[in-house]
């Protein structure tokens, strides 16, 4: 009886600790987040858009649905195949690459 109680106590406290330490999920931000105002993109001069610019690519991903059939966007370089593109398939930006590898590792181990 006593060992059951101890086991149950340990299980409950472990569960409580695990739940409290869970990562802060990005989806939590979605509930209060507003929708992108893609109308602003319609007023841009599309001929001057740099489709290799990561900012432009990111905006396109955000406004993919709204921009379908937008005047002047059809056939623009970089737009082909944007629909349904997952992030990992996205073309890389034209910013110079940083050194190091992709897995972000902090080697110092300092915790302040």
């Amino acid at each position: 009886m006593r060992s059951k109680f101890i086991t149950l106590s340990i299980a409950i406290s472990t569960l409580a600790f695990t739940l409290s330490a869970q990562a802060h999920d990005p989806k939590e931000h979605m509930n209060n987040a507003e929708k992108p105002d893609c109308a602003a993109m319609e007023n841009m001069d599309h001929s001057k858009m740099d489709m290799n610019d990561p900012v432009m690519q990111a905006m396109m991903k955000q406004c993919m649905g709204d921009m379908e059939g937008m005047e002047g966007m059809e056939g623009m370089e970089g737009m082909e195949g944007m629909e349904g593109m997952s992030g990992s398939e996205a073309p890389q930006g034209d910013k110079p690459a940083q050194h190091g590898n992709e897995s972000s590792t902090e080697q110092t181990g300092h915790n302040h």
Partner: protein, 197 residues
């Protein structure tokens, strides 16, 4: 004769050190130092704290490896939403110059919607680092570990390194964004939601 002089000098130094220590302790316990955030530090204290902060971050951040895909649109998008939810109230956004936090916090949080040269919190240029790489390492370290007694929390609990690098990625482009671009990037579209599921 010389030994006597040396002993006398040593004694003097010891007495001076003890008096200074007691004086410091007395000041500490007197409660005379103004701790309110509405009274700025004196120049010497500010310089001391700032120097200690920058030297500490420089030492700790200098060996952090920077991912080579920081400029990707995927990182930018993910970091944008997090910045808006977690940072913008203190570090502002395009079209906003102040908030209750920027007015009340001391030291005032830097306006990250401005370029590093404008807000003066880019870690300076000490010549020992590649400036751009160090700026990235520094931002990552500060987001991850926070800064004591400054209002900047550590985001490490609940946020892995990748997520913090996404925010660093967004910070690189933030100063050049218009209010419209900021709104589109930080909002949550159906497409973003699909990607995160």
């Amino acid at each position: 004769m010389a030994a006597n002089k040396f002993l006398r000098c040593g004694k003097c130094l010891m007495i001076t050190a003890v008096v200074a220590m007691l004086g410091g302790l007395a000041f500490l316990y007197s409660g005379l130092y103004p701790m309110g955030a509405d009274v700025p530090h004196n120049g010497l204290t500010y310089w001391g704290l700032e120097t200690m902060r920058e030297r500490s971050i420089s030492r700790a951040a200098s060996t952090i490896e920077v991912p080579n895909d920081l400029a990707s649109s995927e990182r930018l998008l993910k970091g944008a939403a997090d910045y808006n939810a977690m940072c913008a109230s203190c570090h502002l956004q395009p079209g906003k110059n102040q908030s209750d936090f920027t007015l009340g916090l001391y030291p005032a949080p830097p306006n990250l919607a401005q370029k590093g040269d404008d807000h003066g919190h880019d870690g300076g240029h000490d010549g020992g680092h590649d400036d751009n790489t160090y700026a990235l390492q520094r931002q990552f370290w500060i987001i991850k570990h926070g800064i004591k007694a400054s209002g900047m929390p550590s985001w490490a609990p609940g946020h892995d390194d990748e997520r913090i690098w996404n925010m660093v990625s967004f910070l690189q482009r933030l100063p050049e964004l218009s209010t419209g671009q900021y709104q589109v990037l930080t909002a949550r579209s159906d497409n973003t939601k699909k990607q995160e599921h």
